[in-house]
């Protein structure tokens, strides 16, 4: 055992550790005072407060070393608090205080200030220097929707600069000037609002004083309680620490010990929480009478619903009722909702938002591997040498994972981006294949072709782990590459180089998003991505794999729980009588055999009146599903539409009964993130007003419809789930701990970071080739509407925006805009900022133009966050041939300058200056 000494006592040392980490390991986290050190940043060595005396022999001649960056050597004799060191620290802090306002009592961070703490610790009683030059007159910056700064409090430790660089990778902050006049600048000495800040708040969390903070004063000690929970925005599953007093939420920070996000999160997770008690929150159940919503008691609402459901069931059979569950709800709630649908109503007409996002992923990966979930963990990014990001824009839609990819790419690891738009990641990519929307199959065909042609396939892996290769190879080699090149519009040489880079990397990892799935060939694309991984042997070990970036916070979980019409809880096939028998037994009532309706089929069933009643929880179909007019018409056709929501969404407006549900801050349960990690969600406050926890609402109705289900309690719910969902076998509330477990979880609680290590769930991996097929949308409408519109997401808003538009995020991102290539804009006489009318075979909407090189010619792009635009008025209901996921990414459109220079719904939102 190698040792070093602390005050002449021997302690075991680790190879490569710093003196500081050695001291902290043996003497406690707070054993050495520090200022420029932070848990998620590299050692920097600016404050020098962590200096310790180091001698090469016992009581030998000691030299001060900054422990944060000095490597430990064997037989060092460390004297962490020698008189010399105590004096040095005191002298340094005294110097700091010559340029710091001593107004602690009125400071936000009073009693939670690292400078204050260190000053107290080293015992400063006096600043002996004569009055000199200071920077106390620096002005506060309150320009930003969230971030605040008061640089008179800055101690120049660079933690904010380093956080912006090493954590977020945004480079918004820097030091400027030199020496004594060094100062932190945002952008080119601009305000926070003017800078390129993405409001992640990493700088605020890193700052040891109140020099950078936020409007929520997240560093004040006002909070009585701190609750750890999981973010409701996106499938990354960031851990949050929520500060509150009573029923008031004060602020959110990201815990450093979170395995998912290591002290980081994006502006949605950190700052966009104030929707929870927004004045527009639905606070009471309501029934629509004569076109007007009237507040009613829960009893009245329940009776109304139960009577209606019972009568529909009686008169038209259970299949006349359908349910859409919410991926923003907990696993327990989703389990309950599908159980209600199957066991209480008696139909398999249950679906969820996965239908419109990752249903092709689940299906495609099930076909290739046997399991429809990410094969690896996000932490594997640290181990990979090559990342392929296809049809995903994670720095906007999955920010914390996005920055991890970006950080890895910046450090010299290969990045391949396949996307029609120049996303932020595309700018950092070694290879950006700017494909024409809808041609993913062609470009993947090309990559596979080159890999096999160049002899870069992993023959060992192929022969031992896969099946179908011979046929696959034959088809791939027969492809007409020039034809493929024409289809996807990317130089074949670039594709070849990218393919070689992916295949020759020691470890290559792929990520995909809705730019893969929301296509008529979505499932096939997923299978080709899986082929690519298998052909190159990039499955089953750290740093590789196929990793779908799941959209909503619990979309993985809702499918796991059985929120889909063809598989019950735990992905068991409800077409299989043996499975049904099992469910019958478990639920204690007979459940129906045979697939139910998928969401798009539900709309058709509404229109032809096969469906009479629907219950939708937390999903704004009217704003977010394609072909709005059809959706609205369908839902209006129902006898009863129950909408359980937080806000009066476009869908809620169509409801007959409104049930006010609870936000993630008001309930407990579990969410499963995109890497299969089941994490505990803990209620911070009680549901606002008269609203209720969604799980309890479902249970209340189950009970009233004659099915006995105990009151909502995540612990007992998990017990039930673990008995029917095989990969939850070892899951218990207590075992999940603070960082959760990744399924499958064995009975003894062992979880799984990487799938398919020895063999695939389906045995051998299945290699299948698919040929490119033009989308029906383009075949049918491409001539009349020659541009392709593709829809996507912005960082600041989440899905229909019901939550984020009710936070200050709306001050940062005020509207949906249409990305237009400058050449296309010019051809139509459209200038940046003009209002344009965009039209498809379904209809037209007006939208503001944003002329940018970041979208390729012939392609237009926009978001769907704002109901003022309702872009889905023009999207099509063409869908994936296999999983019925709508083709949001390929819409044939044309556009022109709008006739009127004003919006159709003028005045509804704040204009950009």
């Amino acid at each position: 055992m190698k040792v070093a000494y602390i005050n002449n006592e021997a302690f075991e040392m680790k190879e490569g550790e710093t003196i500081l980490s050695f001291l902290r390991r043996h003497q406690g986290q707070d054993s050495v005072p520090t200022l420029c050190d932070a848990p998620n940043l590299d050692p920097f060595g600016s404050c020098r407060v962590c200096s310790v005396d180091v001698a090469l022999e016992k009581d030998g001649n000691a030299r001060p070393m900054a422990s944060c960056h000095a490597p430990l050597s064997e037989n060092y004799y460390i004297y962490p608090d020698s008189p010399k060191i105590e004096k040095l620290r005191k002298n340094i802090i005294e110097l700091v205080l010559t340029d710091h306002p001593l107004d602690c009592l009125t400071c936000e961070v009073n009693n939670n200030c690292e400078l204050q703490e260190v000053a107290a610790r080293v015992g400063i009683r006096d600043v002996r220097y004569p009055a000199g030059e200071t920077h106390l007159d620096r002005k506060k910056d309150l320009s930003h929707a969230y971030m605040t700064s008061d640089l008179s409090k800055c101690i120049n430790c660079y933690r904010c600069v380093r956080a912006c660089d090493e954590v977020q990778g945004q480079f918004v902050l820097s030091m400027a000037g030199r020496g004594f006049d060094n100062k932190i600048v945002m952008g080119m000495d601009q305000t926070f609002a003017e800078s390129d800040c993405v409001s992640c708040g990493a700088c605020s969390q890193a700052c040891p004083t109140s020099a950078i903070s936020d409007i929520f004063e997240s560093k004040s000690i006002r909070a009585k309680d701190k609750t750890r929970t999981i973010c409701t925005y996106c499938g990354v599953g960031c851990n949050l620490e929520v500060s509150s007093v009573g029923e008031e939420i004060l602020s959110i920070r990201a815990p450093y010990d979170a395995e998912v996000n290591q002290g980081h999160t994006c502006l949605k997770g950190r700052y966009a929480f104030s929707f929870y008690n927004h004045s527009e929150r639905l606070r009471d159940p309501m029934i629509k009478r004569n076109g007007v919503f009237e507040k009613v008691s829960w009893d009245e609402a329940y009776t109304f619903i139960v009577d209606k459901f019972n009568s529909i069931k009686e008169n038209h059979g259970p299949d006349a009722i359908a349910a859409v569950s919410s991926s923003r709800c907990t696993n327990e709630e989703n389990y309950l909702m599908q159980k209600f649908t199957r066991a209480v109503i008696g139909t398999n007409n249950i679906d969820g938002c996965a239908r419109v996002c990752h249903s092709p992923t689940a299906l495609g990966m099930q076909r290739s591997f046997g399991t429809g979930a990410a094969t690896n963990s996000i932490e594997d990014i640290k181990l990979t040498n090559c990342m392929m990001v296809i049809g995903a824009n994670p720095t906007e839609a999955h920010p914390v994972t996005g920055v991890k990819i970006k950080q890895r790419a910046m450090k010299g690891n290969t990045l391949i981006v396949i996307d029609p738009r120049t996303t932020e990641l595309a700018k950092y990519a070694d290879f950006h294949l700017a494909v024409r929307p809808g041609s993913n199959v062609a470009v993947l065909n090309m990559m596979l072709h080159y890999i096999i042609k160049e002899g870069l396939e992993d023959t060992n892996f192929i022969s031992s782990r896969t099946e179908g290769y011979d046929q696959f190879k034959k088809e791939i080699l027969e492809l007409d590459i020039d034809e493929m090149e024409k289809i996807c519009g990317v130089d074949k040489e670039l594709v070849r180089k990218a393919a070689i880079a992916y295949a020759s990397a020691p470890n290559a990892m792929s990520f995909h998003g809705l730019g893969v799935t929301e296509h008529s060939q979505g499932t096939f694309t997923v299978q080709l991505i899986s082929d690519l991984a298998m052909v190159t042997g990039n499955i089953g070990r750290p740093g590789v794999g196929v990793n779908p970036l799941r959209g909503q916070n619990n979309v993985q979980g809702s499918a796991d729980m059985g929120v889909q019409p063809h598989q019950g809880a735990g992905y068991m096939d409800i077409n299989d009588p043996l499975v049904i028998e099992k469910y019958d037994k478990f639920y204690g009532v007979p459940v129906p055999l045979g697939e139910g309706l998928k969401i798009p089929e539900m709309f058709d069933a509404c229109l032809d009146q096969r469906l009479k009643g629907m219950w939708i929880i937390g999903e704004d179909l009217a704003q977010t599903d394609p072909n709005t007019q059809k959706v609205v018409k369908s839902l209006k056709n129902l006898e009863i539409l129950v909408v359980q929501e937080l806000f009066m969404t476009e869908t809620a407006l169509l409801a007959d009964v409104i049930l006010p549900g609870a936000s993630f801050l008001e309930k407990s349960g579990t969410f499963t993130n995109g890497e299969r990690r089941i994490q505990r969600v803990n209620a911070v406050v009680k549901p606002v007003g008269n609203s209720k926890v969604d799980g309890q609402i479902i249970i209340d109705i189950m009970n009233r419809m004659g099915y006995k289900q105990a009151d909502y309690d995540p612990k007992t719910m998990l017990e039930e789930i673990s008995q029917i969902v095989h990969f939850f076998k070892g899951v218990t509330w207590d075992r999940l701990g603070i960082n959760g477990l990744q399924w499958p979880v064995l009975e003894d609680g062992t979880d799984t970071k990487i799938l398919h290590t020895e063999e695939f769930r389906r045995g051998k991996g299945l290699l299948t080739n698919f040929d490119f097929k033009e989308s029906m949308e383009i075949e049918k409408n491409g001539k009349e509407y020659p541009f392709i519109l593709t829809t996507n997401r912005d960082l600041e808003h989440y899905n229909c925006g019901a939550m984020t538009r009710r936070t200050n995020n709306v001050l940062i991102n005020t509207q949906d805009v249409l990305w237009i290539n400058p050449i296309d804009a010019e051809s139509k006489g459209v200038k940046d900022g003009d209002l344009v009318c965009i039209e498809s075979a379904r209809g037209k909407v007006d939208i503001r133009a944003w002329v940018t090189e970041d979208v390729r010619q012939g392609v237009l792009s926009t978001t769907f966050h704002f109901p003022e635009i309702m872009i889905n008025n023009i999207t099509s209901d063409v869908h994936d041939s296999e999983a019925m996921c709508p083709e949001y990414k390929v819409v044939s459109v044309d556009f022109r300058k709008a006739k009127n220079a004003a919006f159709r719904k003028e005045g509804k939102f704040v204009e950009n200056a």
């Binding site: 590299d42 050692p43 920097f44 060595g45 600016s46 404050c47 020098r48 407060v49 200096s51 001060p64 900054a66 960056h69 490597p71 010399k84 004096k87 040095l88 002298n91 340094i92 110097l95 700091v96 010559t98 340029d99 002996r128 220097y129 004569p130 000199g132 030059e133 101690i155 120049n156 660079y158 912006c164 660089d165 090493e166 990778g169 945004q170 480079f171 918004v172 902050l173 820097s174 030091m175 400027a176 000037g177 030199r178 020496g179 004594f180 006049d181 060094n182 600048v185 945002m186 952008g187 080119m188 000495d189 800078s195 390129d196 950080q407 910046m410 450090k411 010299g412 700018k427 950092y428």
Partner: protein, 554 residues
């Protein structure tokens, strides 16, 4: 320092260099426009904050530099010589004072009255010549004495390139390891100040596997009073260039970067010309050889920041980052420029290398003392009767240098500040007792450093000199570490106050400040400042005590 930015700006290699581009952008008006800073940031995928942060660091790029045409030297020698106020007066007759800025040390220490006008350096011009300069622009080639006693390794003419560079044939006939061994056995120590053995550095870089490695010549000779590197670059450029090629061969580096001070415009021109000569004479690119060794040069003109003489700051500077001192490890030889193994050596160090390869490390070792091998260039300032550059064997008595070479002082000098602003302040009497080598200087409580001589005349108040040192450090501090950024400022303020009011400095506080700088600073700038200050307090207490409170024991 940002690892990410090192990678990102390194993506374009040295051909398209961010720092170079920033320099070019600032040429027109003296500072790059915000629009261009944003454009460059986008091009290199970094933040506008980064390009702005870098530009605001440098004297010749910061916004305050806008419109400056004349820069008056405010280095230590010109200060002690007392020539600059008069010069300022004279220049302001011809140009608006708002267009006059400062440069710290043009290396014209042998005659003073130094200034830079529109990219050229001048010194000791008559009033008539100054007047003429503003009507008909001319260049001035300065003259100073050059001589050697003992071995003339650095001062011997290199002769015709075709024959001088024949040494490359010998080099290529040897294994890189063998070349490295010669350098190691010579025990050549870095001449830039720290005195670190060159061979050990090279060994580390040679043993680090990487796609690319770099040899950087640190030609940012910022120490006021020093112009030895300038001499080599302008008079013996090929010994330096050949030395870099040989060092590159020894470690497997194919790129040589010369980072030359902006204050030495003539050096930049001469080195660039010397490199292009190598190409026109067919010496570069190297022909095919069994080691597949090739070598390319890149000249980078610095933009006015003393701290860039510190190797990690220099590396950050080339990367276009703010030149703030990095922590070590990682050492540059393992992870330097663009995060690749990098050797940073001073001009004089590298210029010794051809001699070592030609004559063998063992032969080199016989010159000088056993600890300090080889020769040393010294630069003598205008207080000597024969100011100039002298090459002496290590271990030569100082008396020989002062009297025999320098011809003694023109006027009474009480102390010589040797080895730059962070070197020791040697009382003249003491200087006569010493030899010039690393060990003698260290044992006597001084530092050989760059072996530049700055004479402090009898009548020049030492308190003013010390205040100048603190102020210089404060002005040049990168500002990263707390002790240097704050301490140098407070020290400067205290000394100034004591000179201009009846304020007396608290000796305990002053001593605490020196301890803090010495023990706490990240690099040798803050850490080295206390040495000359303590020398002054030790040897000149009678002169300085009037500025301090009554003495207490410390």
């Amino acid at each position: 320092m940002s690892k990410n930015i090192s990678f990102l700006t390194g993506r374009k290699g040295l051909e398209t260099n961010l720092f170079d581009l920033l320099g070019k952008e600032s040429q027109k008006t003296g500072t790059p426009s915000k629009e261009n800073l944003k454009k460059l940031a986008d091009e290199f995928l970094i933040g506008a904050a980064n390009t702005y942060g870098s530009a605001t660091f440098y004297d010749f790029m910061k916004p305050e530099n806008k419109g400056k045409e004349v820069y008056i030297c405010n280095g230590s020698v010109c200060l002690c010589a007392g020539t600059q106020d008069k010069l300022h007066q004279e220049l302001s007759k011809h140009i608006d004072v708002s267009k006059i800025g400062h440069m710290t040390c043009l290396g014209r220490c042998h005659e003073n009255s130094a200034f830079n006008y529109k990219g050229n350096n001048y010194s000791n011009l008559s009033k008539a010549e100054i007047k003429e300069l503003f009507s008909t622009k001319f260049k001035q080639k300065d003259k100073y004495k050059v001589a050697s006693i003992g071995s003339a390794i650095l001062t011997s003419p290199t002769g015709k390139n075709q024959s001088y560079y024949q040494l490359l044939d010998k080099m290529l006939s040897m294994e890189p390891k063998e070349v490295l061994e010669e350098i190691k056995s010579s025990q050549l120590k870095g001449r830039g100040g720290a005195g670190f053995p060159m061979g050990i550095k090279l060994d580390t870089a040679a043993n680090t596997k990487a796609k690319t490695k770099f040899i950087i010549c640190n030609a940012d000779e910022g120490d006021p009073g020093a112009y030895t590197d300038r001499y080599i670059m302008e008079e013996r450029p090929h010994s330096l260039l050949l030395g870099m090629i040989i060092a590159g061969y020894a470690v497997g580096a194919k790129w040589g970067v010369l980072y030359i001070r902006g204050e030495y415009p003539e050096s930049v021109e001469i080195i660039e010309k010397a490199i292009s000569d190598l190409h026109s004479e067919g010496i570069l690119p190297l022909g095919s050889n069994k080691h597949d060794f090739s070598f390319q040069f890149k000249v980078i003109k610095a933009q006015g920041a003393y701290i860039c003489g510190e190797e990690t700051a220099l590396i950050s500077s080339i990367e276009g980052q703010r030149p703030e001192v990095r922590i070590r490890p990682p050492f540059p030889a393992v992870e330097g420029l663009f995060n690749m193994p990098t050797i940073v050596n001073n001009v004089e160090t590298l210029a010794n290398v051809p001699y070592i390869l030609k004559n063998g490390g063992n032969q080199f070792k016989t010159i000088g003392t056993s600890f300090s091998t080889g020769t040393k260039l010294v630069s003598l300032d205008s207080f000597f009767n024969r100011p100039g550059i002298y090459e002496v064997d290590m271990g030569t008595p100082m008396k020989t240098i002062i009297d025999d070479l320098g011809g003694g002082f023109k006027q009474t000098v009480k102390a010589i500040h040797i080895g730059g602003p962070l070197g020791g302040l040697v009382p003249v009497k003491k200087a006569y007792e010493m030899n010039l080598d690393y060990e003698t200087f260290k044992n006597n409580g001084f530092l050989l450093g760059h072996a530049s001589f700055v004479s402090i005349p009898q009548e020049f108040p030492l308190v003013k000199y010390l205040q100048h040192l603190f102020e210089f450090t404060s002005f040049e501090s990168c500002g990263k570490c707390f002790p240097c950024r704050l301490g140098s400022k407070r020290g400067s303020e205290m000394l100034e106050k004591s000179m201009n009011s009846d304020y007396k400095i608290d000796r305990e506080l002053f001593n605490d400040l020196l301890d803090t700088l010495e023990q706490g600073s990240l690099c040798a700038l803050g850490g080295g400042l206390p040495l000359p200050v303590r020398n002054a307090l030790q040897y000149f207490d009678s002169e300085l005590s009037q500025y301090f409170e009554a003495k207490v024991n410390y």
